[in-house]
């Protein structure tokens, strides 16, 4: 199948899904109280985007996401590089990472609430906590992905540590770093959402949770569409960047 055929088929599938979402509830095939027709949801979305309450919530969430990201990435990267550079530390801590990833980190949310109370700090702290581990692991993988023979060649030509770092490590790691940022953001966003839905008075996650509790399905679905779209757009934007930067990677 050619590229255009693929894109057209996907669009057709999307149209099918959206069409079903509109028609089935409208004709009563699906209970419209449970799944409002797409048209109603989109109308509601337009309305929501005009409400100051929603603006505030989005701003709060955006702030939390940003701050948590800015904390987690340097922290995780530093620890990750340390673990990768030091074999002994690596041997000790790498198996632990696998256990860490099997554990639901949401269980620590109550601890954050106990310490920080309910508010901005608690959500940022929790999200940063969850994201750090992902960044850590990716950073470790990124450092280890640098081929030893490339480093050896550089050393044989007398490159200094700094030169090896900038001229071999950084270019080698660049594609992985971008991917790391993308995946870290996914985890970060998820963490903020969980925190907001669990115990919060502000933020779009809290709004979604309360819409759900009050059976305000149109608002709920509108919120879901909004967040999903934003998440996908951001993801694709970074993917695009990744592709541009890693043309040399097979």
């Amino acid at each position: 199948m050619s590229r255009t055929q693929i894109i057209l088929t996907r669009l057709a599938l999307l149209a099918l899904v959206l069409g079903a979402w509109e028609l089935l509830p409208r004709n009563g095939v699906i209970n419209p109280l449970l799944l409002p027709p797409l048209g109603d949801v989109l109308t509601m979305l337009g309305e929501l985007l005009g409400r100051p309450q929603v603006h505030d919530a989005l701003a709060t969430t955006a702030a939390e996401v940003l701050v948590a990201f800015l904390i987690a990435v340097p922290l995780g990267a530093t620890i990750g590089v340390l673990i990768a550079e030091n074999d002994y530390l690596g041997d000790i801590f790498k198996p632990i990472l696998f256990y860490v990833f099997s554990v639901p980190k949401s269980i620590f949310l109550p601890m954050f609430i106990l310490v920080f109370g309910i508010g901005f700090q608690q959500k940022v702290a929790y999200a940063a906590f969850t994201t750090t581990f992902v960044v850590l692991m990716s950073a470790t993988a990124a450092v280890e992905s640098v081929r030893a023979d490339h480093v050896l060649v550089a050393r044989s030509y007398g490159a200094t540590r700094g030169q090896i770092l900038w001229r071999v490590y950084v270019p080698s790691m660049m594609p992985i770093l971008l991917e790391t940022l993308r995946i870290a953001m996914i985890f970060n966003f998820t963490g903020v959402m969980i925190a907001e839905m669990y115990a919060s008075r502000t933020g779009i996650g809290h709004l979604i949770a309360s819409w759900g509790e009050n059976f305000q399905m149109r608002q709920l679905f509108a919120g879901v569409i909004l967040l999903a779209t934003m998440a996908i757009l951001f993801n694709e934007a970074v993917r695009f960047l990744e592709a541009r930067c890693s043309t040399w990677r097979t």
Partner: protein, 270 residues
């Protein structure tokens, strides 16, 4: 002085953490509210063991069914999407993009539809785990050496024989990875949803006791979940190792490639 073996250091760290957990609250540096001592936590767990055990059963029940959905559908979908070029080109990028959406925002939809009981948790955790399992299986299917099919064809194997005698046995490691991943993710999904809106289960106990500020009981529930998650991981790894004892060095490399190729560097964000 010779350095101790990494495993020893890990056990040492674990012991140190447990020790600190016991001693730090007693000294009053950290209020009991934030961190009840280990002994208090364990005492409470033993006292209320019936409550906790009942909650554990609910959680396990939900995990089991969610795993059925996630792994059943995920592995089959992953095999199809990964194996059939048409489907792969058409759908795989779509699924990878969808992975960027935090599925947790759908949970209120499930509670609105299915109520506060186990059904909503099973539905949510099932979908939560579905995508990563599907992506991982799709990537894993592609690591099967195409040379095997050529060899089988040269020996006169028919298409059904190629599938049953070559493709399926060669897929076993991928399937086990999918099961391990699926189980870990469904545990996470179930726990998150139980914490958010629920009437039963261990996650519910965490939330319930937090709101009444009963820290020892909160931590008892947290401890239980930790043990459950770690136990599952260890069990899954042990089974995986036994089952695929014929993994040669090349396969181990491919297994590592599989884990990272799925673009899923870790089970979950929760």
């Amino acid at each position: 002085m010779r350095r101790p073996a990494p495993a020893t250091v890990r056990w040492g760290l674990l012991a140190a953490i447990l020790l600190l957990w016991e001693l730090v609250p007693a000294t009053g540096i950290v209020p009991e509210l934030f961190l009840p001592s280990l002994s208090k936590t364990l005492t409470v767990l033993v006292e209320d063991h019936q409550t906790y055990f009942a909650a554990l059963l609910v959680t396990l029940y939900e995990v089991a069914f969610a795993m059925l959905i996630a792994c059943g559908a995920g592995i089959v979908a992953g095999a199809l999407v990964g194996g059939l070029t048409l489907l792969r080109n058409l759908l795989l990028p779509v699924f990878s993009s969808l992975y960027a959406v935090p599925i947790v925002i759908l949970y209120p939809v499930f509670t609105a539809w299915f109520g506060v009981g186990s059904q909503s948790k099973i539905a949510f955790a099932g979908i939560y785990a579905f995508f990563p399992v599907m992506l991982s299986t799709a990537a894993g299917i592609r690591t099967i050496d195409p040379q095997f099919i050529l060899a089988a064809r040269s020996m006169g194997a028919t298409l059904p024989q190629q599938i049953t005698r070559v493709i399926i046995p060669a897929s076993v490691p991928t399937v086990f990875t999918g099961l391990r991943l699926g189980g870990a993710l469904t545990i996470i999904g179930v726990v998150v949803s139980e914490m958010l809106t629920s009437a039963a289960g261990i996650g519910y106990l965490v939330t319930l006791n937090r709101t009444i500020l009963d820290s020892p009981r909160v931590f008892a529930a947290i401890l239980m979940i930790l043990v459950l998650a770690v136990a599952y991981y260890m069990l899954a790894r042990a089974v995986e190792r036994r089952m695929v004892v014929w993994q040669s060095a090349g396969r181990q490399q491919r297994a590592a490639a599989r884990d990272s190729a799925a673009g899923v560097p870790a089970p979950a964000a929760a």
